[in-house]
Structures are given as structure tokens and as C-alpha cells.
């Protein structure tokens, strides 16, 4: 097995993990436990970066005893997966999560009851969880490189992935290159740059890099998840809102009770005008414990001088994109391989359709998926690295838009491309209440933005990061819009006003691929021609 070492061209490792959130940290853990020498690169700081750190992730959880606990959990999930979930994968996730979470006890102080028994392992605090995972991988010998975003993958002549290149954003912004026997993309999903808490770094980089290597995307139409937050804030913490009442500008109560239709009803109200929220019904004991249940929830209220239990405050809905949505890189095997040799995916970078189906996995399924997929990818990557030694010899960079445009480079503004993505992916009347005509308009707008980036956006060094983020956001939005256009029905979180019914003929996962032309095909059809929507 290779020793982790530095060569003139860069670092050499067995396994390179791109992304230091929950999935990446679990992947690094698994690879290191297999004996691999692991390097983890993170755009921000492993411990605070990504959507886990600022949240309170629960985990989908069912013990093996009594056996009906898992049967029931899977049956419950299957009912809202609308035919796109896979009970075998659900069982694997429940099992892995149940076995693995308690092993974090040396690093995470699981609260105990008066008898010294752990209350539960499944409900974690984000900052403490990520701090524990960081400590765990550091102790396992993983080399953690913070503030080192990856910009592109490196491939061997046969197409196998053998490393990545990026930049260091601090202390001068120098470039880096790492060769590895296997690479795991755990770079998160994307909220399309909404103000969803903790999601700014999550620009879909993993989708872009995987697709440049030849991987496909699956479930990208399921991006229509939204979460309530006080207007202008990032505080998308939902618990208190389970007891919320909502009002319009005239003080009339909006009929949006806690339940599956609440988001749609709030979005309809927000399209009509401002919406105000009252948390007066939150039980008094919960009010008093709120700061020690979710310590960040009260921060905006306290700072704005709002008493949310006595005063009404304005709220909005932030787009969750693929973060509380579903889509991502298509998983092609139990090891979370992508079909591209040497490339594995984990967490939000990997499509969660297999376990979530067509409905949001919320925090629970999503966290369990991040932990499980990270573990499987980490294990598989370490095993591959035993067979395939890392080497810089013959590695070629795969990055296109933002790094190596097809035409003459000219100054390109990342902020304009990102604004265009937000304009198509955030509005409720475009992404939540979808129509064929609306999706077609979005498709055309995003196609133009992509064409410009692909032809002309190219920078070196620090300036390339913003352009690569923009390219990843635009590409992700295009895959989402194209797949939503192809799914001419309403299924789970994908709502088509022009096709309000479920179409039994579309009970299949949809796979998107490509850049210049985006192709969409049903997974069950091997040939990309049978059901093609070229964007």
C-alpha cells in the first residue's frame, strides 16, 4: 500500500476525500479503518462547513429488535417513496446507521438519563457532531486540509480517476494536486445559493466534477423542497414551526396546518404577499428549553428584539434544492461507485432516491444516508487503492467550464450566472409549482448562461473558484430543469400544475447526463434514446 507522501507534483495518498461534512468525514473514517492513507480536502473548515454543522441532524433509526421495527420503518418510507425507493437499500442504511453511530461515543458526549443510560444515539447536535467527526479522523491519521477547495478531478488515460487539483484559499492561494488510488466526492448537494443555513459552500461541485468524469445524475427533478425561516435570516430550523400559526398582511390566519401540504400552502400565500408567523402555541416547557435543544434558533430573535412567542414576525421559505431534496450523482453499486473507475460518491453528492424515493428525507433519512454512503464509499475506495497504486504519471485534468473554456476566454462574472440560477430555481411559481411552459423558459435561460460559461469562462488561481462554483450551480440547475420537464406527472415533491396526477408509466428513476446537450432517460431503459429530452 502507498505511504502518504509528498512528491514534486503534489501529495500522494491511497484515498482522497473531497468534502469535509458528515459524509466526507464518515468516508474518511471508513477508509482509514481499512488501513488506507487518507487525505481529506475541504472548501471551508472540516467541522463548521456544510449543512450538518449548523443543524441538529436526527438519523433514520430502527433497532434490529424487535424485527418489525425495521419492517415498519421501511414500509412507512416506501409509502412516500412513490415507487422510486429500494427496500434493500433502506435496510442497509438502517443497519449501518444503527451499528455505527454509537461508535462515536469516544468523541461525542451522548446525553444520558438519570440512570446513566444514553438517551438516544440518533439525535445529534450539528456543531458537536462535526467536531467529534473531525477529532475521530485526525486520530485515525487522516490528513485534513482545510480551506483547500477541489476544482477538478484528474484522470488516467483509461478514464479511471486518479486524483484531484484545487487551490488553497488562505495564505496566498497556492494551487495543489493530489494523486490517489481512489477519490470520493462528498462535496454536498446544493441549495442553488439560497440562504438555507450552512449551505453557501454547497454549490453542486461534486455533481459537476463527477459529470465531467462521465458519471450520470439521478433524481434531479426532486429539488422542490423548501424550509421556513424568519425573513432575511438563515435560520431554517424547523422544530418550533411544528406549532406555528401563519397570517397574511391583514392579520387573517392562513390555512396551513402542520402536515405534508404546509409548504405548498405557505408558498401560495407568499406568492400573494407577506406572511407572518406566531409561535404562541409552542408549549411553555418547550419555549423554556428551546435554547438548550437548538441553541442557534433564538439568535436572530434575540438580536432583532423579537419575542417570537408573543409577537408575529415575517417569514419566508428558503429553497433546499438537493439538500433536503433528493437528486445527485447516480449510484451504480452497493459500494457507492459511480460507474467511473476510481470514483465514489457519498452524502448529498450521491442521489438519495434509493432510500428517500420521491419525498424529502428530511434530516433523518438524509443523515443516515450520509453516514452509510460515506462508510461504503470509504471502504470500497480503500480496497481499490490496494489494487491501484496512486501515481501522477499520465494524469490529465478534466475541468472544463470555469477553467478551460472551449472558446476564447473573456471576463465572465460568476455573480451574474449565480443570479440567473437563483432566478430560475428559487421562485415558488417556477420550481415548486411547475409547468411545462415554465420549465421550458427556465431551460432556455439556463442554456444561454451555460453556453457562455462553457465557451468563455476560464481563470487561474483564486479567481477560478467562483467560476467553478457558478458552473456547478448552472449545470445542476439544468439537470434539474430538464428532468422536471421530462417527468410529466406529479410524484412526491415534484409537482406539475399541468400534470397533477401520478402517471403509473413514470414509476421509474430518471437519469440525466451531459453538458452542451442535457439528455434525460428512464433508468430502466438501457439505451439513452428510448425516452429522450434533449435540452
Amino acid at each position: 500500500m502507498n505511504r502518504f507522501h509528498a512528491e514534486a507534483e503534489g501529495l500522494v495518498a491511497d484515498v482522497l476525500v473531497i468534502g469535509g461534512g458528515m459524509a466526507g468525514a464518515w468516508a474518511a473514517t471508513a477508509a482509514a479503518r481499512e488501513g488506507a492513507h487518507v487525505v481529506l480536502v475541504e472548501k471551508g473548515f472540516c467541522g463548521t462547513s456544510g449543512v450538518t454543522a449548523a443543524a441538529g441532524p436526527g438519523h433514520w433509526w430502527a433497532p434490529p429488535d424487535p424485527p418489525e421495527a425495521r419492517v415498519n420503518a421501511i414500509a412507512q418510507r416506501q409509502r412516500i417513496a412513490f415507487g422510486l425507493g429500494d427496500p434493500v437499500w433502506m435496510r442497509r442504511v438502517l443497519d449501518e446507521t444503527w451499528r455505527l453511530l454509537p461508535t462515536l461515543a469516544p468523541y461525542y458526549d451522548f446525553p444520558k438519563d438519570e440512570h446513566g443510560r444514553v438517551r438516544n444515539y440518533r439525535a445529534m447536535r450539528g456543531p458537536e457532531y462535526m467536531r467529534a467527526l473531525r477529532q475521530q479522523i485526525v486520530n485515525l491519521g487522516v490528513v485534513v486540509l482545510d480551506h483547500c477547495p477541489a476544482l477538478e478531478l484528474l484522470a488516467h488515460a483509461d478514464g479511471a480517476i486518479g486524483g484531484a487539483a484545487g487551490i488553497r484559499t488562505q495564505r496566498g492561494g497556492s494551487p495543489w494536486r493530489i494523486a490517489a488510488g481512489a477519490v470520493i466526492l462528498a462535496a454536498g448537494g446544493t441549495s442553488f445559493r439560497s440562504h438555507l443555513l450552512g449551505s453557501r459552500n454547497n454549490t453542486g461541485d461534486g455533481y459537476l466534477m463527477a459529470a465531467e468524469a462521465g458519471a450520470e445524475l439521478s433524481g434531479m427533478e426532486f429539488t422542490a423542497a423548501y424550509t421556513v425561516a424568519p425573513q432575511h435570516s438563515t435560520m431554517t430550523r424547523t422544530m418550533s414551526y411544528a406549532f406555528a400559526d401563519y397570517f397574511d398582511a391583514d392579520g387573517r390566519q392562513i390555512d396551513a396546518p402542520f402536515g405534508p401540504d404546509q409548504t405548498e400552502r405557505l408558498a401560495q400565500a407568499l406568492l400573494a404577499g407577506p406572511v407572518y408567523c406566531s409561535l404562541a402555541r409552542l408549549p411553555a416547557d418547550v419555549q423554556s428549553h428551546l435554547p438548550t435543544i437548538s441553541p442557534n434558533v433564538m439568535l436572530p430573535f434575540a438580536r432583532w428584539g423579537i419575542d417570537p412567542f408573543r409577537e408575529r414576525f415575517e417569514v419566508t421559505l428558503h429553497t433546499d434544492g438537493t439538500i433536503r431534496g433528493i437528486g445527485g450523482v447516480r449510484v451504480q453499486g452497493e459500494d457507492c461507485g459511480t460507474g467511473v473507475p476510481g470514483l465514489y460518491v457519498a452524502g448529498d453528492t450521491a442521489s438519495r432516491e434509493l432510500v428517500a424515493g420521491a419525498s424529502s428525507g428530511g434530516g433523518n433519512v438524509n443523515s443516515a444516508w450520509a453516514l452509510s454512503s460515506g462508510t461504503w464509499a470509504g471502504r470500497a475506495a480503500a480496497r481499490r487503492a490496494r489494487r491501484v497504486p496512486a501515481s501522477f504519471g499520465g494524469l490529465v485534468p478534466l475541468g472544463r467550464a470555469g477553467l478551460r473554456p472551449s472558446g476564447r476566454p473573456r471576463p465572465t462574472e460568476a455573480v451574474e450566472a449565480i443570479a440567473a440560477v437563483r432566478a430560475e430555481m428559487h421562485p415558488y411559481d417556477k420550481n415548486l409549482f411547475r409547468t411545462g411552459a415554465g420549465l421550458e423558459a427556465s431551460r432556455r435561460a439556463l442554456h444561454d448562461v451555460w453556453s457562455d460559461l462553457a465557451a468563455h469562462a476560464g481563470e487561474d488561481g483564486a479567481a477560478s473558484l467562483g467560476l467553478r462554483e457558478a458552473a456547478a450551480l448552472v449545470a445542476s440547475a439544468r439537470w434539474s430543469v430538464a428532468t422536471a420537464g421530462a417527468r410529466t406527472e406529479t410524484r412526491g415533491m415534484h409537482r406539475r400544475l399541468d400534470h397533477p396526477e401520478l402517471d403509473p408509466g413514470l414509476a421509474t428513476r430518471l437519469v440525466a447526463s451531459g453538458f452542451e446537450a442535457v439528455a434525460v432517460r428512464p433508468e430502466t431503459s438501457p439505451a439513452p434514446k428510448a425516452f429522450e429530452s434533449v435540452a
Binding site: K43, G44, F45, G47, T48, S49, G50, A53, A54, G56, G58, D109, P111, R119, N120, A123, M124, R125, P127, E128, D146, H147, T169, Q170, H195, L197, G198, S199, R200, N201, P230, H232, S233, T234, M235, M239, A242, F243, P257, F258, G259, R281, P283, V286, H289, P291, T292, I293, S294, P295, N296, M298, L299, P300, A302, R303, W304
Partner: protein, 114 residues
């Protein structure tokens, strides 16, 4: 967005520079870090959680800067609220982690809605 680094509290440990996920701070030759890229702040409050000197103030507005009076913030008692309620550092044991209660709250809400 991050609005204040309070110089008389800051110990120049540079932990905020390290932990900020969007790299908004820049070290200075002597003294507290500078807020160099405020527009990149994602309003996650993580820097406050890791600042043992309670020298940082993040305003809740994620869309635009929301300037505040330094003296008013110092007098408000709001500095260090996140770190305290999280039971970190010297607050360990005084503010217990009650995250595990969350699912009981959701259960109660579902019962009320039924």
C-alpha cells in the same frame, strides 16, 4: 452577516480565521482579524461558537449588512449567547445538550394537529 470583531475582547488567537467556512476573515499584522470579505459570510454563527473570548457579533440578516453600534452590542448581553447555550468551554455542564427532546416536540405537534 458578521458585523463586529470587538478589539478589546479579541485575543488574536485567529481561531475564527481557521473555522470560518467561507473565509471572511483576514489576519492583520498586529491585533484582531479584519472582516475582509463580509459579503461571503453565510450567517451560520459558527465563528461565535468557536470564539472563547466572545469577541464576535454576527447580525441575523443574511441578505445585506446590518451595521450595529459596538457599545450597544457590548451592553446587550448578546455576545457569547450561542457558545453559552451550547454548553461549550466554561459553560460545560451548566447548559445541557437537550437535542434529544426534539423528536418529542415533533410528536406532540403531530398529536395536536390530529
Amino acid at each position: 452577516m458578521i458585523e463586529l470583531v470587538i478589539a478589546e475582547r479579541c485575543t488574536a488567537c485567529e481561531r475564527c480565521i481557521e473555522v470560518c467556512p467561507s473565509n471572511v476573515f483576514e489576519p492583520t499584522a498586529s491585533g484582531p482579524p479584519a472582516i475582509a470579505r463580509q459579503e461571503d459570510c453565510q450567517t451560520c454563527f459558527m465563528c461565535e461558537l468557536y470564539c472563547t473570548a466572545d469577541a464576535l457579533y454576527v447580525a441575523p440578516n443574511a441578505e445585506r449588512p446590518e451595521p450595529v453600534e459596538r457599545a450597544a452590542v457590548l451592553a446587550s448581553g448578546l455576545l457569547g449567547q450561542y457558545r453559552r447555550d451550547s454548553g461549550w468551554d466554561e459553560w460545560q455542564g451548566l447548559y445541557p445538550n437537550e437535542q434529544w427532546l426534539m423528536e418529542t416536540v415533533f410528536r406532540r405537534a403531530a398529536e395536536v394537529a390530529r
